[in-house]
Structure formats: structure tokens, C-alpha cells
């Protein structure tokens, strides 16, 4: 019976994979290839494009605001990766211990993740401006204000999600290793850094990967919270690309070129980071 099913699958897999494959092709591969082609073109609507070579890339690289938003994005990603992961791990650690109402806390921490970025952005805009009003300021007073505003928002949103991944990891830890460590007289600090964290590396890989790529790609929260104001100083890369593409007539190709550069950066970082953390993974 099993072999028969296996045989059928071997024969028919292509047919069953077809719908998904088709949607992947239409929804992902085609726009991607078209996007790369368009980055070498001058166009105002995507259907009539004129090939111009590398002109868009030179314009993109010469744009100072592109570099500024790149630096801003890198700083943002670094800060949020560190904060989100440390806090999420700490909360997960706390909630896997016997805390009364752990399940309620888990749900509460996870909830922000269920709200869309745009809505979160507007809610935090109200909250932060309400607080800043005491000093007659607002979140768009300077890029630094916007930066920390976004860090807060993003941490608040992401910590719950990462916490769930860490909780799953912590619950799957083999109890015997930790028990053995306790019998051998390891302090709780030693258990944490020598046993738990090395064993948790798979979860840490996943979480840092997610926070890093999400941080790099963050768009809606940025749009809703500051929209780059003032003077585009609180603008992350994704928003910069969007503004170049849609904000200026004649700059669609430049925006597209920036998007391709952005893709390359994110891809390289993700690959390098993945290699680095997987190499530290151990098994019990």
C-alpha cells in the first residue's frame, strides 16, 4: 500500500505541485525578474520601459539620502536585534520557570504581534506624541526621536513573537543534561552560559535571522510613525526606496535600482549571519 502511494506520488507530484508552483512563478519569480530588468530602464509606468544601462545605479549610489538611510537602518537593526533577542530570551526563560499565570503572560506578550504595523505605528504615534507634548515636542522633532520611537515600537511588537520561539526551544531542552550539570555542582550562571545557551543556538539562529531581516525590511511602522520626517532623517531603507520610486517623477528606475541593491545587501547579510550562527549550533 505504501509503495503504491509512493509510486503514485512519484508519478503525479508535478501535477499537484503545479498550482503552488504557478503562483510562486506569477507572484514571486516573474515580478522579481521584471524588477531586475526595470532597474536598468527609464520608465514611468511599468509597461513602457526604455533600457538605459547602469545609469540608475550610478544615480542611486550618488544619492546621499540613500546612504544616510542605509546607515540609519544598520544602526536600527543592530540595536533592535540585540534588544529584542535579549529581552525575548529573558522573558521566555522566566515564563518557562514556574511562574503563576505563565500562560496568560505568554498570550499577553504575544498579542502585540497580532496587530498590523500601520495600526501599531499610529497607536504609538499618539502615545509618544502624548508623552512628548509635556516638553512641547513631537516624535518628528528630529531623526533621533524617530529612531528611538521606532526601536520601542518594534521591540514591543517583536519581543512576543521571538519569546514564543525561545519558549519552544527552552521546553525542548533535554532535562538530563541540565540535571547532570546540577549534580556536578554547576552554578546557575554556568548552567546558563555553558549548557542552556549553546543548546539553544538553533532557536537563537532563527530569532536573530528573523529580527535582522525584519529590521532591515521594516516599512509600515516607519511609514505610520514618522514617514521619514523631519527632512527624511528618520527614514529607513525600505521607505527611502518607496519614496524614490513613487515620490519623484523620473526616479522610478533609480528606486528600482535601490531595491535591487537592497535585496543584495539583505541576502548577503542573511547568508553570512546564518552561516555564523549555525556553525555554533551543538547537539546534546
Amino acid at each position: 500500500m505504501i509503495t503504491m502511494a509512493g509510486k503514485t506520488i512519484r508519478k503525479w507530484w508535478a501535477l499537484f505541485a503545479l498550482p503552488t508552483f504557478a503562483s510562486f512563478l506569477i507572484g514571486f519569480i516573474a515580478p522579481f525578474v521584471m524588477g531586475i530588468y526595470l532597474s536598468f530602464c527609464r520608465f514611468s509606468t511599468v509597461t513602457d520601459a526604455k533600457f538605459v544601462g547602469l545609469q540608475n545605479y550610478t544615480a542611486a549610489i550618488a544619492d546621499r539620502e540613500f546612504w544616510r538611510s542605509l546607515v540609519y537602518t544598520v544602526a536600527f537593526t543592530l540595536v533592535t536585534v540585540v534588544v529584542v533577542n535579549i529581552v525575548a530570551f529573558a522573558i521566555a526563560y522566566m515564563l518557562t520557570k514556574a511562574v503563576k499565570g505563565a500562560n496568560i503572560f505568554r498570550s499577553v506578550f504575544f498579542m502585540p504581534n497580532l496587530i498590523g504595523g500601520i495600526i501599531l505605528g499610529y497607536i504609538w504615534l499618539l502615545l509618544l506624541n502624548g508623552v512628548l507634548a509635556h516638553w512641547s515636542r513631537s516624535i518628528t522633532y528630529s531623526g533621533t526621536y524617530g529612531f528611538w520611537g521606532m526601536v520601542m515600537l518594534y521591540c514591543w511588537q517583536q519581543i512576543g513573537y521571538m519569546m514564543i520561539i525561545y519558549i519552544a526551544g527552552l521546553q525542548a531542552l533535554p532535562g538530563d543534561v541540565i540535571e547532570a550539570a546540577a549534580v556536578d555542582g554547576a552554578s546557575s550562571r554556568q548552567t546558563m552560559f555553558r549548557i542552556t545557551i549553546p543548546l539553544m543556538m538553533p532557536s537563537i539562529t532563527v530569532c536573530t535571522f528573523l529580527t535582522m531581516t525584519n529590521g532591515f525590511k521594516m516599512f509600515d511602522q516607519n511609514l505610520a510613525l514618522t514617514n521619514g520626517a523631519p527632512s527624511n532623517t528618520s527614514e529607513l531603507l525600505a521607505l527611502n526606496i518607496y519614496r524614490t520610486f513613487y515620490g519623484r517623477a523620473g526616479f522610478e528606475g533609480v528606486g528600482q535600482a535601490k531595491a535591487v541593491i537592497f535585496f543584495l545587501i539583505v541576502a548577503v547579510i542573511a547568508i553570512v549571519q546564518n552561516r555564523l550562527s549555525t556553525s555554533r549550533e551543538v547537539t546534546a
Binding site: A22, N129, S138, S231, G250, F251
Partner: protein, 446 residues
């Protein structure tokens, strides 16, 4: 057995594909139909009335009519994606000659249309570069200035110690500043929070700086230098006067400058309608909002924007047209014809004129709007009164603004100047140097 499996597999995969197709189909239920009219509208305030009008027109003539609205901030991107579709908009809008430049490849000749023939002043229409074709026709006529609350200003005039006793006394920047400073000084006695409403830098209001206010020094400079086309460079002759009026707005305001970066149009409207402020820079398009805020026509007066330019007392308000209609050249010929017919109906039929002038409240540049279709907008009427009193109209110099980027950079630098995080030099540079840079950049792109 085998055959059944095959049949099952085939039908399942067909079902899955069909499901996908259904998903794709359902999302496009709101798109335009072939041969019909598709109007991509840029005024959210008329979205509903326009839809009603379209439905009624469709019912009378049987022509399919779709109206989509994209707010002013997102109009360009909607237009960009809609024009790429199979059934593109047949009627779209551009902002002035510079806006037309981006879309001139899509603009059909409108010289045979009723809307062009019925223009009060045919020179207002935008022509192609060689002058042979009419590519865009103005939609509405608008005006702007400093709107004031008559009742609150009267309170000031009656206040003991007021240097100026009536509104005729406000005739240049000096007198405006005197009134405004005195109101600000005695704001508690007068029961206001400031002379001017907040003039925020949120995108909903920053255009009041970078488009309309900046148009004033530009218009005087262009008038002095006899400029009638977009110049490659500007001198910034009247920047000191531009600074005068900005300083006045910032100082005599309901809001401390450090909080301006996120103040919105709603905040400013609240200031003027609740009576927290006396002056409010805006235009005739703001009238419906003021009515919604509970104001009526005799509470409102309008002053020209005075900034200290020599000879400004001879000028009235600034009237012009920014929004122009274009008919999409790349739409099918039947659709273009249907669109032209609709425009004719709009400005000649009773229903069309009623909707356009009363329901939507536009003041039009067309000869057909006479009698009861003449505007009752008090801001528009104020502009006419200045003209009647022999004052010149200050042309809309912002129609030549090189790009949205120029405007954004300008208001950004004004914000930095206002907050103290930047200097006036920054404004000067984004005004003068930015102009040259943006004109050059848009030239190299076309």
C-alpha cells in the same frame, strides 16, 4: 482504479487552479469596463458626490462610468499603476504645467472639447511644447490668502489701545504685523490662544508653506523679472520678505514652534473654527471645512498675504488654477469620445452644473456657469472684491515649482529653521540652489 486516480488528480488540480483564478478575479471587480469612462479623481472631498454623479450619468446614457479616488498625496502613484492597466483611466488630473510634463505622453489633444471652447480665458489651458495641441484644461478656479475671523478681529479693533481700528487699516505687512503682535500680546483678554493658527509641518499642511506661501516671493520675483515660463534658476529676491511672514506665523501662533513638526491641518482648522486663532492661511478650497466647523459666510474675511514686498498694497489675493483635466491618449477612441461627451454634459447640463458648483462647491473657469451657478464661496468672493477694487491678482507662481522634491526640501528646511535645528541659510539654499538642481534634474530625466 488507476483511471479513477488519474481523473481525481486532474479534477483536483483543476479545482485548485480555478480557486486561484477566482481569487484573482474577485479583487478586480471594481475596475473600469472597456469603452467606458474611468475618472481617476484627486479630490477625496468629492469622492462620494462624484460617484453619485457618475451613477446618474451612467443611468441616463448607458455609458459605463467608474470613479476612483486617490488622495492628493498618493495620486501620482495611483496614476502610475492605473495607467499601466488594461483599462486605464480615460480622464485624469495633472497639477499645472510641471505636472503635465510627467504625463504629456498620455495627454490627448483637447482643442475640440467643449470644456476648452467654454473657457472664460482660453490662455489658461496648457498647450503642448510646440503650441499645436491643447493638452490640459483647468478644472476649477481657486484663490488663497490669509483668512480671518471677522468677529474676533472686531473684538481686537474695539479693544482699548488697539493701534488699528478697522480691517481697511491692514494694508501691508507692517500693519498686519502690528495687528498680529497686539493680538498675541493681549491674547488672554481677547480669549484667543494666538493670532495665527498653528502652521504645522505634517504633510496635510506643509504645502501651505512650500506651495502657497512660497508662491508669494516667487510671484513678485517673476513679475519683476518678466518671467512667463519655468526659469532654470531663480534669485530669491524676496527671501527676506518670505522670512518676515514665516517669522510672524511662527511667533504669533497658538502653538510653540517645537511642537509644529507634527501639527496637522485638522489642528489648524480646529484653531480657527473654535476661535482660538484669528488668522489662518488657506484658500477657497478650505471653505467646506470651515462650514463643517460651524462658521458661516459673514464670519469670514480674507486678506492678501502681505510680507513686506514693495508695492504689495497694489495686489489682491492670489487666484489661479492648479488642477487640470487630461484625457488619456492611450485609452481606446470610443472611451476618449465618451469622456469628452461627459465633460460637455458636466459643464452644460443642469444636473452636471448643479453637482459641480453646489454639491461639490467648485468655482469654475467656464462660461457656462452663470446665474444660480455662480459661486457662493466667500473666499472666492473676497478675491473678486479685491479685483473690483482695482487690485492686481498675484499669479500662481508655484505652478512653475520644479518638483515635489523641491517643495519637500523647502518645507523641511523651514521646519529645521523653525525648530532651531537649522539656520535660515538652509531655507535660502533649498529655495534658490534647490530650484536650479531640481530643474536640471527633471530636464535630464525627460
Amino acid at each position: 482504479m488507476k483511471r479513477i486516480t488519474k481523473a481525481l488528480a486532474a479534477s483536483l488540480s483543476v479545482a485548485m487552479l480555478a480557486g486561484m483564478a477566482a481569487c484573482g478575479g474577485s479583487s478586480s471587480s471594481d475596475t473600469a469596463q472597456a469603452g467606458g469612462i474611468y475618472y481617476l479623481n484627486n479630490k477625496p472631498e468629492i469622492a462620494n458626490s462624484m460617484k453619485d454623479l457618475a451613477a446618474s450619468y451612467s443611468k441616463q446614457t448607458g455609458v459605463p462610468f467608474t470613479v476612483q479616488t486617490a488622495a492628493s498625496q498618493t495620486y501620482q502613484q495611483s496614476l502610475k499603476s492605473e495607467l499601466a492597466k488594461n483599462q486605464p483611466p480615460t480622464l485624469f488630473q495633472v497639477l499645472g504645467p510641471v505636472g503635465l510634463k510627467d504625463w504629456h505622453e498620455y495627454a490627448a489633444d483637447m482643442s475640440d472639447t467643449e470644456v476648452y471652447k467654454q473657457l472664460k480665458d482660453q490662455s489658461m489651458a496648457l498647450k503642448s511644447d510646440d503650441g499645436s495641441q491643447i493638452l490640459a484644461v483647468p478644472v476649477v478656479q481657486e484663490t488663497f490668502g490669509i483668512i480671518y475671523r471677522k468677529d474676533l478681529l472686531k473684538k481686537y479693533f474695539e479693544m482699548p489701545g488697539a493701534s488699528i481700528k478697522n480691517v481697511k487699516g491692514i494694508r501691508d505687512f507692517e500693519t498686519l504685523k502690528t495687528v498680529s503682535d497686539e493680538i498675541q500680546k493681549h491674547k488672554d483678554e481677547l480669549g484667543v490662544k494666538g493670532a495665527f493658527t498653528s502652521m504645522g509641518f505634517d504633510p496635510s499642511t506643509s504645502w501651505r508653506y512650500n506651495t502657497h506661501l512660497a508662491s508669494v516671493p516667487l510671484a513678485y520675483e517673476f513679475a519683476q523679472d518678466n518671467i512667463t515660463q519655468q526659469p532654470a534658476t531663480i534669485k530669491g529676491t524676496y527671501l527676506p520678505e518670505f522670512k518676515n511672514i514665516i517669522d510672524l506665523y511662527l511667533k504669533d501662533s497658538t502653538t510653540p514652534t517645537s511642537a509644529l513638526s507634527s501639527k496637522t491641518m485638522d489642528d489648524a482648522l480646529a484653531d480657527i473654527t473654535t476661535g482660538d486663532a484669528v488668522f489662518f492661511q488657506n484658500g477657497s478650497w478650505a471653505w467646506p471645512d470651515l462650514v463643517d466647523g460651524g462658521l458661516n459666510a459673514d464670519q469670514i474675511g480674507v486678506l492678501p498675504i502681505y510680507s513686506g514686498v514693495p508695492g504689495e498694497e497694489n495686489y489682491g489675493m492670489s487666484t489661479g488654477s492648479e488642477t487640470y483635466w487630461c484625457i488619456n491618449k492611450k485609452a481606446s477612441p470610443e472611451a476618449q469620445k465618451a469622456t469628452k461627451d461627459f465633460l460637455k454634459w458636466l459643464i452644460t447640463s443642469d444636473e452636471g452644473r448643479e453637482a459641480w458648483s453646489h454639491t461639490m462647491g467648485f468655482t469654475t473657469p467656464f462660461k457656462t456657469f452663470t446665474g444660480k451657478y455662480v459661486t457662493d464661496n466667500p473666499i472666492m468672493k473676497a478675491a473678486d472684491q479685491y479685483t473690483a477694487a482695482g487690485k492686481k491678482n498675484l499669479p500662481w507662481a508655484f505652478l512653475y515649482d520644479p518638483s515635489q522634491q523641491w517643495k519637500d526640501n523647502l518645507s523641511n528646511s523651514i521646519l529645521e529653521y523653525a525648530q532651531g535645528t537649522g539656520k535660515w541659510d538652509g531655507v535660502q539654499s533649498s529655495f534658490v540652489d534647490g530650484w536650479a538642481k531640481e530643474v536640471a534634474s527633471s530636464k535630464s530625466n525627460s
